[in-house]
Symmetry: C3
Subunit: 307 residues, 3 copies
C-alpha cells in the first residue's frame, strides 16, 4: 500500500482514516506509553531529495511516538547516488533490501515518488513531489475541518492568499469537491486567482464557487477561512499584501464566531501574530493534526503488513 | 522549565545538578541498562540553525543512553521554514505540536533561543546562541572543577588563550564569581585580554583577579588552568602562539602536581599532544562530563514533566 | 576490535563471519523481533566526512534492526570541529567520551580512519577512506559469492567496467587471491585495465588471470560476472560504453545459466534495466547482503564487548 495522492482515498476510506486519527489523538493524550508499543522496532526511512524540515520532523515524530526507529537523509539530491546518475527506481530497490517498514519520500520533481512506488513492494509515502501531490498535507487540512465540524459537507470555505501558485489551496478545493453541498469563495487579488483547471474540476463535480475580492463580504458567512502564504516576489508591483489581504484582529471581526481560520504554515505577514490567541485560529492545531494523520497512515500501513 | 543561561541556577541548584550528574555517571559505569529505562520512548528534537557536531552528538548520546528517541536537523538555518521568513516563535509552536519532551536549540543569533522559549511550554535547552549563552558548556566546565576538587570555592584559576573573544572563558569567570574565595589569573597577550565588562562583573561581586602575562608565574600555584583556542587570524601580526602561549611538557612543569588542565576543545596548537597523557590533562574527561551534565539536565526536565 | 581492512580477516574468520551473516539473514526472515532484542539501547555513531547515503543508511538499518540507537552526522568535513583544525584523533577521543558502542567512519582521505582507530578503544569501522579501504563493501561482495556457490574456491570470475579506478574490483581481486583455484578474467577496454600492482599481487599468490576484451569469450564459462560503474568522463574520446561494455539481454546470453551477475551499485548505463528480472542478476540481493554483513560485524563487535 502506497500513499501517493489524496485522490486515492474513497470517501469511506477518508472517514475511516479520520476516525482512526481522532482515536490515536485521544489515546496519545491519555497514555503515550501504550502507543509506544504499537510498532516497536519497526524502521522508517525518510528520503528527502530537497529539505522540508517541518514535514520530515512531523513524520519522524509520528514514527518515534509509535516506537519506530527513524533513519533519514536530509538532502538526498545533493548527497546520494542520485548525483551519480542512479534512477529513483534503483534507489528504492536498494532501500527495500534494508528492510524498512515504510519509506517517506520528498522529491523536487513531479512524478518521481510515483515512479519509486511502482518499483518496490515497500510502502512509499509521498511527502511532496515538486508541483505534484502532497497528500499528507491535504489530509491534515481536511481532517482539521472534519475534526472541528464533524463533517465535510455543506460548508462555506473561503480560500485566500496565493491561489494561483499555492499547492495546498488547489488540493483542498479538489478534496472538498468529493463531498456534497460545499461552496468555495476565492478571495484574492485577480493576479493570484485560482486557475481554470481547478474551476473546471469543481464544475465537473457540481461544486459551487465564486470569486469575491472583498474580504469583509467573503468572510461574512464563512465556516472555514483557509489562508495561504503570499510570496512578495509574486505580488504585482505596488501591491502591499499587509494593506489588503493580511488577516489581523479587524479582519477576524468579519468572521462568524463559529468559523475557523486555517493556514498550512509557515506564515509570514499574511496573518498577524495578534490573531494567534483568537480561539478560531487553528493553524497550530492544524500542524499538530499533521502528525496524528501521519501516525494514522503509518499505523494503517504497518498493521496491514502484519496481517 | 527552560535551560537558557547558566545564570539561572542558584548555588543550591548547581550543587543539586552536580550531585545528580555525578550519581548518573557512577550508575552509568555500573549498569547502562538501568538508565536506558529512565526515559524510554520520550522524544528529543535537536534544532540546530548552525552546525555544531560535537554539541549535537553529545546531547543525542545523552538522550539515547536514557532510552529517548532523537530527531534532529543539522542546519535549520538553510533548510527550514526560517528561509521562508518564519519566526522562531512560530517554528517552536509547530514543533510543540509534535509532542517532543524537550527541544535543544542552537542558533547563530543572540537571544533567539530565549524568544523561542518564551513562545512555548515545551522545555527548551539553549545549546548556544551566537555570542550569547551556552549554558551546558559553562555547566560542564564548572562540574569538571567541582568533580575534581569537591568544591567551587577558594580556588586559583588561570584563564588563558583568547580571553577577548572566547565565550567559554568569559562564562566561566562569571560562574566562579558566584562562589567565595576564588582568584582568577588572566594569562594572555595584551591584545586578547579579558574585556572590561567581565572585570567589572567580578569587581561587583568581590572576586579578585590579576593579569599575569608570564606563563611560569601564572601557573605557579594554580588549581585550574583553563586554556582556550587561539585563532591565528586573531593574533597580532608577528605573534606565533606556539612560541608563547602553547602548553607543552615544559609548560606543564610550571604547574603544581595537584592542578588540572582544562580546554573546551577543539584544540589546535595551543596544547601539544604530548601533554595528553599527563594525568593533570582533563580536557577529554571534561568533554565526557558534558554528556553527563546534559543527561542530568534532561533527567531533571523529564522527571519534572512526569510529576 | 576495529574493522579497518578486509585483509585483516583470516580465511577462518571470513568463514565464521559469513556463517554468522547467513544465520542472521535466516533469523531475520523468520522473526525480526528476536534480533531486535540483541543490542537494545546500544549506541552507534556514524561519522561521515563525506556523504555516502547508501552506506550510511545500510549501517543505520543494520543497527536499528538489532535495537541500537543511531546518531549520525552526514557531512562532518564541512560541519564539525575538523573545519577548525581538529585532528581526527581528537575527534574520536571526544566521541569515545559519549560512550558509543561503535563508531562508523567514512573519510575522504586514505589512512584517516586507521589513525582514528589507533587513538581510541571504541571499535571503529571503516566505511571507506578515500582511495584506501572499504572493507564492508569487499566483505559483502565476497559473501554474495560464498552465499551463492557455498565456496570461494575454484571459481571463474569476470571483472568488468572501470578496473583501473574502481576500488571494488581491485579489492575483490585481492580477496579472491586468498582462496585456491580461482581464475580471474579482466574484461574491459585497454584504457581501463587492471593496474600492475594488483596483477603483481595475484602473481605473488599464484592466482591465475587473463585479459580478454571480447565480452562473449570472457563470459563463456563464467561463474561470476562482476561489473562496475563506468564514468563517462573517464572514457577515451569516441568510446561509447553502451555500444561495447554495457550488459543487456543479449550479453546475458553469453553467460552460463549457473553464473551470477554482480555490481556494487549505483549503476548507470553499464547494465540495462531489462536485465533486472533475470534470476542471475544479483546486484540488489548483493546490496541487501551488505546490510546483513554489517549486522554480523556489529554483532561480533558488541558480543565481544559484553564478554
Amino acid at each position: 500500500m502506497h500513499i501517493l495522492s489524496a485522490d486515492q482515498f474513497t470517501k469511506k476510506q477518508l472517514e475511516e482514516l479520520f476516525a482512526l486519527t481522532s482515536s490515536i489523538q485521544q489515546k496519545f493524550a491519555q497514555d503515550k506509553n501504550e502507543i509506544l508499543q504499537w510498532h516497536k522496532g519497526r524502521v522508517l526511512i525518510t528520503l528527502f531529495y530537497e529539505p522540508s524540515t517541518r514535514t520530515r520532523l512531523s513524520f519522524a515524530s509520528a514514527a518515534a511516538h509509535m516506537g519506530m526507529s527513524v533513519i533519514s537523509t536530509e538532502n538526498a539530491r545533493e548527497f546520494s547516488s542520485a548525483a551519480k546518475g542512479e534512477t529513483i527506481e534503483d534507489t528504492v530497490r536498494v532501500l527495500e533490501q534494508y528492510a524498512p517498514d515504510a519509506v517517506v519520500i520528498r522529491h523536487h520533481e513531479t512524478g518521481e515518488v510515483a515512479r519509486a512506488a511502482a518499483a518496490t513492494n515497500v510502502p512509499i509515502i509521498n511527502a511532496g513531489d515538486g508541483k505534484g501531490e502532497h497528500p499528507t498535507q491535504s489530509l491534515l487540512d481536511t481532517y482539521t475541518i472534519w475534526q472541528h465540524f464533524g463533517k465535510l459537507t455543506n460548508l462555506r470555505i473561503i480560500l485566500g492568499g496565493d491561489l494561483l501558485h499555492g499547492r495546498t489551496a488547489r488540493s483542498l478545493a479538489k478534496l472538498l469537491a468529493c463531498f456534497e453541498g460545499n461552496h468555495i469563495v476565492f478571495n484574492t487579488i485577480p493576479e493570484l486567482q485560482m486557475a481554470d483547471d481547478i474551476k473546471q474540476y469543481l464544475d465537473d463535480r457540481g461544486l459551487t464557487y465564486e470569486e469575491e475580492s472583498d474580504m469583509k463580504k467573503a468572510f461574512a458567512q464563512a465556516d472555514v477561512v483557509y489562508w495561504t502564504r503570499l510570496q512578495k516576489e509574486r505580488l504585482p508591483e505596488g501591491v502591499h499584501i499587509d494593506q489588503t489581504y493580511a488577516i489581523d484582529t479587524k479582519a477576524m471581526g468579519y468572521m462568524p464566531d463559529t468559523a475557523i481560520l486555517m493556514h498550512p504554515l509557515p506564515r509570514v505577514d499574511e496573518i498577524a501574530t495578534e490573531v494567534d490567541n483568537d480561539p478560531r485560529a487553528k493553524y497550530f492545531t492544524q500542524a499538530g493534526n499533521g502528525m496524528f494523520v501521519r501516525m494514522a497512515l503509518l499505523d494503517t500501513i504497518l498493521t496491514r503488513l502484519k496481517q
